[in-house]
């Protein structure tokens, strides 16, 4: 009877039922095994295997040194401070954009200023802070604070906060702008003052976002490598720089591995906690049923004034820092000979030409491959059911959760010998970037798939289309905007990241970021500034291109998501 056969066919394994899916899963698992799991296993091996057997000897040796204990403490202390300050500032900026009646151009300006640190290499604020607040810095002189030692906690804290608060801003403004305005109306109509409404409605509803932002910033600061390398100084050791110095200075791979293992624990804790938070249902509900959308209620007076003052001071300071870099790139020797010159740019475009092209080539390759991979992984995670789905999802995100330094060290350990002898190749750089930064792409694909009502795919099937046609005619066109968003993030990071790749660059492949670091360590501030300017301009142009592509892709659909929600509304 055909019925029995059909039921059997249904129960048959994934291989027979959906060979394309099976192939995709196997390919993904293989690449994850080589580029994520193998390096991690090697790192754990280097930490825990001494003379062929399991041992804590490496770890105890490292922890035994007071200097390393301080590094661990400093890392966590700094991350806590940066995440708190960065989230607070980000929240104030987000409030100013979503909850005030300031003129549009002002809001636009604020938004644009916060983008600057996002698209800059991690050194930018470090360089200009050194020029302004470092030894002989112009602000110090202007304020008459001649001998203030800026290196150490305060310099690192300031620089990291300025670098990372835009992340908090983006996250929180997204949450603030998707809240239901009717809640504001309801609170006010029940007699609450604006202040009470803010305390009892807006703030509690922002809490999941605030918690998420704190975790995100904590992880970023914990992993940050470039800033403390330049601004930390000898008196403020932290783990990533210690691990780096252990390896590049002392050629102690085992010590470096053990130090980075210490970093893995808090990083993974943050990652797991974040997943737990995201896993819980968000308070934010977009029902689309709320008829005419009214406006958000404005901030209470005192908060608006505080917000205005903070946003103003910080915006001016950021602009000032960027102006300093620009100025620095055009003077002969900073604060010694301030006459105008183009020689640094000439240097960048001759001597640095290779770095520019290498960086672009690697970034573009990584972006294209990484995006394709994130579409495939995101799609099968969200829409397909198979045995190893949860583990696959977790493993694919692992490198993203680990600090760059850890990934860099793990990659050296894994790819320095056969069968995967990749050191010195472009492949290792591309792989490091893809598997570290495609996570955002995967997440945005998953998120947009979640928002696409499965009934669209069911409709396609009920109209006679098979699954391949449904995927390419219905699903893919609808997620293109979020794929582009993931590409944008991937590209920016491939252009500006350094923590992992500092271990992986070679004579054959150099990167702009490593050139900036070299210039800084050689105290060639003007050269570093010129490199930074070129890098920022390149990223900015690419970013603008990507943004206009996103606009173009959503224009035809006419804001897909709103439309989907409107459909289910009255």
């Amino acid at each position: 009877m055909p019925k029995d056969r059909q039921i059997k066919a249904q129960r048959a394994s994934v291989i027979r039922k959906d060979p394309a899916l099976f192939l995709a899963i196997v390919t993904i698992w293989l690449s994850l095994a080589v580029f994520i799991l193998l390096p991690l296993v090697k790192l754990l091996g280097a930490t825990f295997i001494v003379k062929g057997s399991f041992s804590f000897a490496n770890l105890t040796k490292i922890i035994g040194k007071p200097y390393n204990q301080r590094a661990l403490f400093n890392s966590i202390y700094l991350a806590a401070a940066v995440s708190a300050a960065g989230t607070l500032i980000g929240y104030l900026f987000a409030l100013s954009i979503t909850r005030t009646s300031w003129p549009r151009p002002v809001k636009w300006l604020l938004g644009s200023i916060t983008i600057l640190p996002l698209i800059s290499p991690p050194f930018t604020s470090s360089i200009s802070l050194t020029l302004t607040l470092g030894p002989n810095g112009i602000l110090l002189r202007a304020l008459g604070l001649g001998n203030l030692n800026f290196y150490g906690f305060w310099g690192t804290f300031l620089s990291e906060t300025l670098t990372y608060f835009p992340v908090a801003f983006m996250l929180l403004s997204a949450i603030l702008s998707t809240m239901d305005t009717n809640l504001d109306d309801a609170a006010l109509s029940l007699g609450a003052s604006k202040g009470r409404m803010f305390r009892t409605v807006t703030l509690p509803l922002s809490m999941p976002g605030i918690a998420n932002s704190i975790l995100l910033l904590f992880g970023s600061s914990l992993a940050d490598f470039a800033t403390p390398l330049i601004l930390g100084g000898h008196n403020f050791p932290i783990l990533p720089t210690q691990a780096y110095l252990q390896i590049t200075g002392l050629y102690d791979l085992k010590g470096g591995s053990s130090l980075s293992f210490l970093l893995i624990i808090p990083a993974l804790l943050v990652f797991l906690f974040q997943r737990y938070l995201i896993g819980k249902k968000s308070y934010v509900t977009i029902t689309g049923k709320s008829g005419a959308r009214s406006e958000f209620s404005k901030l209470p007076r005192w908060l608006e004034i505080t917000t205005a003052v903070v946003c103003f001071i910080i915006s001016i300071f950021i602009l000032y820092l960027y102006f300093i870099i620009l100025q620095g790139s055009f003077v002969k020797v900073w604060s010694v000979d301030n006459s105008f010159t183009l020689e640094h740019f000439k240097y960048v475009f001759t001597n640095g030409k290779k770095a520019i092209f290498d960086t672009l080539k690697i970034a573009i390759t990584s972006t294209v491959l990484g995006s394709l991979l994130s579409i495939v992984i995101g799609y099968i995670i969200q829409r397909k059911k198979f045995l190893s789905r949860r583990i696959l999802e977790f493993s694919s995100m692992l490198n993203y959760a680990l600090p760059g330094t850890v990934v860099g060290i793990a990659y050296i350990l894994a790819f320095n010998e056969k069968p995967f002898l990749l050191t010195g190749t472009m492949t290792i750089l591309v792989a490091a970037y893809i598997f570290r930064y495609y996570a955002t792409g995967i997440r945005s694909v998953v998120a947009s798939l979640q928002q696409i009502d499965p009934s669209l795919e069911e409709a396609s099937a009920s109209l006679g289309a098979n699954s391949t046609k449904t995927l390419f005619r219905i699903t893919v066109p609808l997620i293109i905007p979020s794929v582009l968003a993931g590409m944008r993030y991937l590209f920016i990071h491939c252009m500006t990241a350094i923590s992992a790749t500092i271990f992986l660059v070679s004579v054959r492949w150099t990167l702009l970021t490593t050139r900036i670091l070299e210039s800084m360590t050689e105290l060639q501030f003007s050269q570093a500034s010129a490199f930074s300017i070129v890098l920022i301009v390149l990223v900015f142009l690419a970013d603008a291109l990507m943004l206009s592509l996103m606009k173009l892709s959503t224009r035809k659909i006419g804001a897909v998501q709103e439309n989907i929600y409107d459909n289910s509304g009255a």
Binding site: S455, A461, G558, N567
Partner: protein
């Protein structure tokens, strides 16, 4: 002998809920004739949508068989079943124009472009949107989107049209307009249609046959008239239309009628349904539609001449008076018996009772029913 357009044979769907298993649909069997409009009606979670999705092929039944035009479709994928499905949220493809949406299925079937154009045009004309082809779904109102969704399905000339609460997102007026519109098109094309709704007036106005479902079971199947006038269970009586349900004691049972009484001494006899469960001396439920419950002024002032008080007298106090235009809704307090509602037709000059008035409720034996208590 003609084969039925659809046969459901003991169709069951079991969902894993936490540790336990629950039957969302519990062995439903049903035959649907060619061209018939069958409406599944029930509260949310009663299994009506799951049943429809199994017929469509979005879900596979845990057991049982589904036959469309006599052919076993139990395990055939959706895109091979030749059904048309209209979704609650319409599921129009937002990145395609109205024309492309309607042409989508025909293109899957690889029909020639010239024929597609003609068919799409006809379909859009049928739903009254002949000029909307170039527009995008987000430029249409809810009712227009709904009609595009209908056109997209009708253009395929499906053997079976399945509709999952298609009107629930429309406003009240449009809903009433659309349900006659859908019924008109369905009759004109002679298409077999299964329609899911939780709106009883939609079911009563549209259906050839109503299937009332509750907790995965079929409570009653029948024409709108039967369902309304002769509900098979208290659930159906309560769910379809409004009903006064009085807890009564059975005094005596005859062939198909029973005599019942209230502790106050009031007596009544009416037709029984489900007579096997009704025994003398036991409790039962007396069901009366509000339009069959009349109220009148009390014939004699209270407390006088007990002996000549009429036998069939149910005392009530008016609790609220709601003017509905065509009729007046009286909310009554029936003393120990509970509460009740009576609809009285309104004409100018008719006496309107006031809140607090003592009245008597009169129940017509022909339009009331006695059902088992549970």
């Amino acid at each position: 002998m003609t084969t039925a357009a659809l046969n459901l044979i003991d169709v069951t769907k079991i969902f894993q809920k936490g540790r336990g298993k629950t039957a969302a649909v519990d062995s439903i069997s049903l035959n649907v004739k060619q061209g018939e409009m069958v409406v599944f009606l029930g509260p949310s979670g009663c299994g009506k949508t799951t049943t429809l999705r199994m017929i469509a092929g979005f879900e596979l039944p845990s057991s049982g068989r589904i036959l469309i035009d006599g052919a076993d479709m139990t395990n055939v994928p959706v895109n091979k079943r030749g059904i048309g499905f209209v979704f609650q949220n319409y599921a129009l493809f937002p990145h395609m124009s109205v024309y492309s949406n309607v042409a989508y299925g025909l293109r899957s079937r690889k029909e020639p472009e010239g024929i597609i154009r003609q068919k799409v045009h006809n379909a859009l004309e049928l739903v009254g949107l002949a000029n909307a082809g170039e527009r995008y779904p987000n430029q249409l109102s809810g009712g227009e989107q709904q009609r595009v969704a209908l056109a997209r399905v009708l253009v395929m000339e499906p053997k079976l049209l399945l509709m999952d609460e298609p009107l629930s997102n429309l406003d009240a007026k449009l809903r009433i307009y659309m349900r006659t519109e859908i019924r008109r098109i369905q009759k004109k094309l002679g298409i077999t249609c299964l329609y899911v709704t939780h709106d009883q007036s939609e079911a009563l106005t549209m259906a050839d046959r109503i299937v009332v479902m509750n907790r995965g079971y079929v409570e009653q199947m029948g024409s709108p008239f039967d369902i309304y006038a002769q509900p098979a269970s208290l659930f159906v009586a309560d769910f379809i239309g409004q009903a006064n349900i009085l807890r009564v004691t059975v005094d005596s049972v005859e062939q198909d009628t029973a005599s019942v009484s209230l502790p106050s001494g009031w007596r009544h006899s009416a037709k029984m349904i489900g007579s096997s469960k009704i025994r003398s001396g036991k409790e039962a439920a007396l069901v009366v539609r509000p339009e069959n419950l009349h109220i009148e002024a009390l014939p004699v002032p209270e407390g006088q001449g007990k002996s000549n008080a009429p036998f069939n007298l149910l005392k009530a106090t008016v609790r609220a008076v709601v003017f509905m235009g065509g009729h007046i809704e009286y909310h009554l307090d029936l003393g120990t018996t509970g509460k009740g509602i009576a609809f009285m037709p309104f004409q100018s000059g008719v006496h309107v009772f006031q809140e607090g008035d003592k009245v008597q409720a009169i129940i017509d034996p022909d339009t009331s029913l006695i059902l088992p208590s549970e």
